[in-house]
């Protein structure tokens, strides 16, 4: 749009007015996502303890598993940060390398989550077994679905980065993906704390 200055310096993803609006819009979207997850957390908290005939969470949750998943996601958030850092240095190769590492870590996380769900189902805790387990599976599952979507999105972006190199558009898209990925980590921190840790304690 005319009337709004285009920058010639600074990070690529902020050069045009449109870019700056996109990043802001995504932040506002993340605000909405917080409200969304808060509602799921609220449901989880209210339904806590309503396990009916299914096993109680203390019987199923295991610290090593939860910690492994947390470290995978934490590290992926870190590598994603490095990827954006590489992008800002102008290194397409660095960006792609770190992005792929991030993806691999994310896939690892997903693998563990799927394993976890299958394991719980074997123990008799499924989406259908009680109010508590419904809220558990939907809460963690929504996070898992977000991670899956993030991975697909990243794959699309990697293709575009390969095809078009680093330019204003691809840089902005990558930056926004980075925000999304870090945000998933923020949500996981709360999941880890209020679902797994509290579930093991109470």
């Amino acid at each position: 749009m005319s009337g709004h200055s285009e920058l010639t310096t600074g990070p690529l993803e902020y050069r045009s007015h449109e870019d700056r609006m996109t990043v802001l819009g995504f932040w506002l979207f993340l605000g909405a996502e917080i409200a969304l997850f808060a509602t799921l957390f609220a449901t989880y908290a209210v339904l806590f303890g309503r396990t009916a005939d299914a096993p109680a969470p203390q019987e199923l949750f295991e610290m090593p598993m939860a910690l492994t998943m947390t470290f995978l996601l934490l590290t992926s958030s870190f590598t994603c940060g490095i990827a954006i850092h590489e992008m800002r240095r102008g290194s397409l190769k660095g960006l792609l390398t770190w992005l792929i590492i991030t993806l691999a870590l994310g896939l690892g996380f997903l693998g563990f989550e799927i394993y976890e769900f299958v394991h719980y189902a074997h123990e008799g805790a499924t989406l259908q077994s009680s109010a508590y387990w419904s809220s558990f599976f939907v809460l963690t599952g929504t996070h898992g679905a977000h991670v899956t979507l993030g991975i697909c999105w990243a794959v699309l972006l990697i293709i575009q980065l390969k095809k078009r190199g680093l330019n204003q558009m691809t840089a902005r898209k990558t930056f926004v993906l980075g925000l999304y990925w870090h945000f998933l980590d923020v949500i996981w921190i709360f999941l880890f704390t209020s679902v797994y840790l509290i579930g093991m304690v109470v």
Binding site: M21, T43, L47, R50, S130, A131
Partner: protein, 648 residues
């Protein structure tokens, strides 16, 4: 065949057969007309693929008026049943379906889209922008609303309408007590249109925060833009809650989870809690933009600056903040204890303070003014006493101990109609008549407008005032049969409803009449306006402003008129960048419809196919590097010269 007749199509009711026949006939007529006049291409190019905020706004409003008609017919059927309770006009099941669709359609598919339509058309013009921040997303918003509404309305003839009230309380609406596709329509229809609403919220926040004309500080924005900003803010934080609530119940019904069920230690009351956590902010989503409209209209027709602009802005901000802190007043009678009820009583009553400030500021705006009584102003003046009545009864309802007697009665019904009709519907009518010339290039006929106003406003009071008394007499809402002593007041109420219907029909006729006979607008400034939307020509060129003026104070256009500014500065024309049209939003929303329909009937192959379609559209969008196009200086010159001929 058996499935088709007994489950898929709704059978056994003459009203519904009539509806089916008319749906088929109207569809055939539309297809025929489009084909005969070779308008398919035009429809696709100019409307279905458009990303122009003005066209999207107009489509929103047209859809909303259609929905107002549908919801209104529902209302008339209900009134007819309550006036003739012994003639079995409607049976209980049919009545339940009708009040459910009436409420849902009026709130979700009428009030909100109407206001969002006005926001779409007006806000970018008021802030001197060429479009919204994300035009593509805006088209997605509209089409997902349109397809969501279509899915919801389909339930009438295919599968059966939802019948658990617009609040859809569990466990009544859950899988245990209400199996079948009907409630699924509610859940999916709202879900699909909710996605669009959320996108609108984000879109308008960014638009208003980042695309204002140079010099237009926040405190120089027109008040309607302010109300839109605050509304968008509420939308962004409230709609995710609805998304989750709907999703949880959908999972309950389709995939057998136990959130709100009677089995598996599920907790039905959590639905009410989540519903109102969204539902109360929703009330302010549909009232704040109306407040904005009234402020604009009153200031324009009193020919005065808005009284207490800052207080107006702050009161809206406070209302927005409080709107998230009062939801429990919708279920005081749930027995959550004296502590909970006391806190939410007080927070609810507090909302009346900023609202009162607004009322007095509108009165202050008229003080020392020169009031003209054009139709938009009439709606705004009619709004004040009617809305105050709704407001004070709202305070009465907020007093939890007394609410135990009002809850679920016609007192409550009267209250929220008093607020929502006097606030939102009057606001929509005021806004539409006010901005109509800008949208279509001619005014709506004043005489018909006034006739429609008087019918509507008198009918409105005749219809809803008796309901307060019915509440005191013990008449519960949502009942299809009445006791003999409630009869006289119900008859009065129905007379009022008929008057309102006449008012609405005159309003619609006025659209046709004005299209045929009204004088075409020569200037862009129909009402001696004050904000920037009146600074451009009528009809508005697709790029809105040839040059965006520098803003030096509030009421930008009022000032420009005095100081001689223009939006067509010949010396400083630059090529204008505009976004390209796209068919993707329409197709993507159509896939949402397919997925939604699949889920309603639990046909998973169809749901998955729809989902894949949606994802494919997102991939297509991701690879789309279309940067839009530039309008050349010559084209701008040509357009502007042509549009401004009449002015000289």
């Amino acid at each position: 065949m058996d499935f088709l007749l007994n489950e898929f199509l709704v059978t056994g009711d003459p009203l519904i057969y009539g509806a089916m026949v008319s749906i088929v006939l109207v569809s055939i007529a539309i297809v025929f007309v489009l084909t005969y006049f070779r308008k398919w291409g035009y429809l696709w190019r100019e409307w279905l693929t458009t990303v122009d905020h003005k066209k999207i706004g107009i489509m929103y409003i047209i859809a909303a008026i259609a929905m107002l008609f549908r919801g209104g017919v529902d209302a008339m059927l209900m009134r007819a049943q309550l006036t003739l309770p012994n003639t079995e006009f409607l049976n209980s099941q049919h009545y339940n379906e009708i009040f459910t669709t009436h409420g849902t359609i009026m709130i979700i598919f009428m009030a909100m889209p109407f206001l969002i339509g006005l926001m779409n058309f007006v806000v970018p013009l008021q802030i001197g922008a060429r479009d919204v921040a994300f035009p593509f997303l805006n088209a997605v918003s509209f089409w997902s609303f349109a397809f969501g509404a279509m899915l919801f309305n389909l339930s009438f003839v295919i599968g059966g309408s939802p019948d658990a009230g617009w609040t859809n309380y569990a466990p009544l609406a859950g899988p245990n007590l209400n199996p079948g596709p009907n409630i699924n329509y509610y859940l999916l229809g709202l879900q699909i249109s909710g996605i669009g609403t959320l996108a609108t919220g984000i879109n308008f926040m960014v638009t208003i925060l980042k695309m204002r004309a140079p010099g237009m500080k926040l405190m120089r924005m027109p008040i309607f833009t302010w109300s839109s900003l605050i509304t968008s803010f509420i939308i962004t934080f409230a709609f995710p809650i609805l998304t989750v609530a709907l999703a949880l119940m959908t999972i309950d019904r389709i995939f057998g989870s136990q959130f709100f069920t009677l089995t598996g230690e599920g907790m039905p009351m959590m639905w009410a809690n989540l519903f109102w956590l969204w539902g109360h902010p929703e009330v302010y989503i549909v009232i704040l933009p109306a407040f904005g409209i009234f402020s604009e209209v009153i200031s324009t027709f009193a020919r005065k600056q808005l009284f207490g602009y800052k207080a107006m802005v702050w009161s809206m901000l406070i209302i927005a903040g409080l709107s998230f802190l009062v939801w429990v007043h919708h279920f005081f009678t749930m027995g959550a204890g004296a502590g909970v009820n006391s806190v939410f009583s007080v927070t609810t009553m507090l909302i009346s303070v900023p609202t009162g400030v607004k009322i007095f500021n509108w009165l202050g705006t008229m003080y020392k003014g020169k009031i003209r009584f054009d139709t938009p102003m009439l709606w705004s003046i009619g709004f004040i006493p009617c809305f105050v009545l709704g407001g004070v009864t709202g305070v009465m309802l907020a007093m939890a101990a007394a609410d135990y007697q009002y809850h679920n009665t016609y007192f409550l019904v009267a209250h929220f109609h008093n607020v929502l009709i006097a606030g939102t519907v009057f606001g929509c009518f005021a806004g539409l008549t006010f901005w109509y010339p800008k949208m279509f290039g001619h005014k709506m006929n004043e005489k018909l407008g006034k006739i429609s106003f008087w019918f509507f406003v008198i009918g409105f009071n005749v219809c809803f005032l008796p309901m307060y008394f019915l509440g005191f007499m013990g008449m519960p809402r949502r009942t299809y049969s009445i006791e003999p002593e409630w009869m006289p007041l119900n008859v009065i109420s129905t007379i009022g409803a008929v008057l309102m219907a006449v008012g609405f029909l005159v309003f619609v006729y006025n659209i046709y009449y004005s299209f045929r006979y009204s004088e075409r607008e020569k200037t862009g400034d129909t009402w001696d306006g004050r904000a920037l939307e009146w600074a451009t020509t009528t009809p508005v060129p697709f790029y809105n402003f040839a040059t965006v003026p520098e803003i030096t104070g509030p009421e930008a256009f009022w000032k420009m008129k005095q100081e001689g500014g223009t939006t067509y500065d010949k010396e400083n024309l630059e090529p204008i960048h505009m976004p390209s049209d796209s068919g993707v939003p329409f197709i993507m929303s159509a896939f949402m419809f397919v997925a939604g329909f699949g889920l309603v009937w639990e046909w998973m192959f169809m749901a998955i196919a729809g989902l894949i379609g949606i994802l494919a559209c997102m991939v297509v969008r991701s690879f789309d590097y279309d940067h839009g196009f530039h309008v050349s200086v010559e084209e701008i010159k040509e357009t502007e010269e042509k549009a401004r001929e009449g002015e000289k």
